[in-house]
């Protein structure tokens, strides 16, 4: 039962990787990597059940959050050119890149 879900997830991750490699625009790649990360979360959870180790769920719990933050950071970098000065005053930030 878990093996079937694991195989389905691995196939889906392969498809997401294919889109990440093929993707003409950089936003396809960001979308594919984000989808790949979500599937990794599910894979870790299912694999934790497969091997009977409940502590895998903590890993997938953290992975969900990190995946979200990574996507937002990449998008901010794409939009503004840099991730802003750490703790810099707002005046020094570049204006919104239209």
């Amino acid at each position: 039962m878990f093996v079937a879900a694991t195989l389905a997830l691995l196939v889906a991750m392969g498809l997401a990787l294919a889109r990440a490699l093929l993707g003409p625009t950089v936003y396809d790649r960001v979308l594919a990597v984000n989808s790949f990360g979500t599937k990794t979360v599910l894979l870790i959870a299912v694999f934790g059940f497969l091997t009977g180790r409940p502590d895998f769920l903590d890993i997938s719990l953290i992975y969900v959050l990190i995946n979200f933050i990574a996507t937002i950071a990449v998008l901010k970098f794409l939009k503004f050119g840099d991730l802003g000065t750490p703790g810099g005053d707002p005046g020094s930030d570049r204006e919104m890149a239209e």
Binding site: M1, F2, Y27, A45, L57, L61
Partner: protein
């Protein structure tokens, strides 16, 4: 009771895996980055929801189920936000959506020019 639980979680897990594959296929096949976001959304909400629900049924009333429920809640909050941020960044950068093209010929011209919009 145990058999019933196994059957329920088996059905949820397999259908969740199926929806994840459908989402992955849609990610690959759809012609435009804005259309592909729908496919990515399928995996984030339905695929993940069914798989996590299948695991929750298997987990029963325990801390494991609470963690699975938290994963589902975080996923349901963060996935629309990240898709919105992606669409906003893509649109602001000038990536015009593919309008008016029928799926067949727009897929053919996908590699020719990604950014110009069809009349």
């Amino acid at each position: 009771m145990e058999v019933l639980r196994d059957i329920a979680s088996w059905a949820l897990l397999v259908s969740g895996g199926g929806f994840c594959m459908i989402g992955g296929l849609g990610l690959l096949r759809l012609p435009d980055v804005y259309a592909r976001m729908h496919a990515a959304g399928i995996t984030d909400t339905l695929g993940a929801g069914l798989i996590l629900a299948g695991l929750m049924v298997q987990g029963g009333l325990s801390l494991v189920t609470v963690k699975l429920f938290l994963i589902l809640v975080f996923l349901l909050f963060t996935s629309p936000t990240s898709t919105y941020a992606l669409a906003n960044a893509a649109h602001r950068q000038g990536l015009a959506p593919l309008l008016g093209a029928t799926p067949l010929d727009s897929a053919a011209t996908d590699h020719k020019d990604e950014t110009s919009s069809k009349p």
